[in-house]
Amino acid sequence: MNTARLDATFAALADPTRRAILARLASGDASVMELAEPFSMSQPAISKHLKVLERAGLISTGSDAQRRPRKLEAKPLEEATQWLEKYREFWEASFLRLDDLLQEMKATAGESRKKVIAKSTPKISGRAAPRTRRSKTSKEKK
């Protein structure tokens, strides 16, 4: 992979108009005029963004000489987003489990507080609180 090209890719993706253009091109090729319309921008302004995207290799110009349709190029976008996707997937899945674990920790903390207040006879440590499903969580603080 090429560092300079990735820099160009990241720089190109940092702009909201350019990201919107890419999202639009993901659903099909479009001419400069068609792209300018939804953004209420002048054609020269859009052309400037298109130049940045083209230099980053994110889009190319089709062969139709009159319409000159712009087309999304998958490869550089793939390089820039793939790792991000994997990172996202790792944390998204992990955080769902963390939600459950935190609720369990909250319940356990509540249980031990109640026990202290009630001054109940000491239980054998290691005996799980009744509501913990998987009782591997250690309750005691070091």
Binding site: M1, T3, L6, D7, F10, A11, L13, A14, P16, R19, L22, A23, A26, L72, A74, L77, E78, E79, A80, T81, Q82, W83, L84, E85, K86, Y87, R88, E89, F90, W91, E92, A93, S94, F95, L96, R97, L98, D99, D100, L101, L102, Q103, M105, K106, A109, R134, K136, T137, S138
Partner: protein
């Protein structure tokens, strides 16, 4: 409140990535879940099919941590580093290096926890020390053979907003 919907990934610059999320628990518990191996093992292993083979944390400045995950077909992925800064229960700064030797070396990880009304906002940042390290990280993701679809493009693109800059 749908806490899963608070999940966000953003590029803070071309070398720094941030994951953020809100949790329905005080930050002391979120901090414990990030620092006690018996708790870390219960959640920090990504997609189903993965689990911890090694999970060790020496929670002191200068202390090391080491994680090795085992996935489908016994594939192993390991990483580790040294704690640089610890502020209980709000901040951890550490170095991060994966076993696969990426060019450019290690990254700096920062975990930030802030609490409001018993809810915790987590920010987890990774700063690559060089563009080469970032490229290495990107390249490693590609070897996993993830398939790219345009369907998720609109979901992924906002991450490139450099809002933290």
């Amino acid at each position: 409140m749908n806490f899963a919907a608070t999940f966000k990934v953003a590029m803070l610059s071309d070398k720094e990535i941030e994951v953020s999320r809100v949790f329905n628990a005080p930050r002391t518990l979120v901090f414990d879940a990030h620092t006690k191996p018996e708790l870390i093992k219960r959640w920090m292993f990504g997609p189903p099919g993965w689990s911890f083979a090694v999970c060790e944390v020496d929670l002191r400045v200068g202390g090391a941590y080491r994680f090795v995950w085992r996935g489908p077909e016994n594939v192993e992925m390991g990483m580790g580093g040294i704690h640089k800064e610890i502020v209980v229960p709000e901040k951890i700064v550490n170095t991060q290096k994966f076993d696969q030797d990426w060019t450019g070396g290690e990254a700096i990880g920062t975990l930030l926890l802030s609490e409001q009304d018993g809810k915790t906002t987590l920010r987890n940042r990774v700063l690559y020390v060089s563009k080469e390290a970032r490229d290495g990280a990107l390249a490693s993701g590609m070897t996993e053979g993830m398939t790219f679809t345009y369907n998720r493009l609109e979901e992924v693109l906002p991450a490139f907003a450099t809002e933290g800059a």
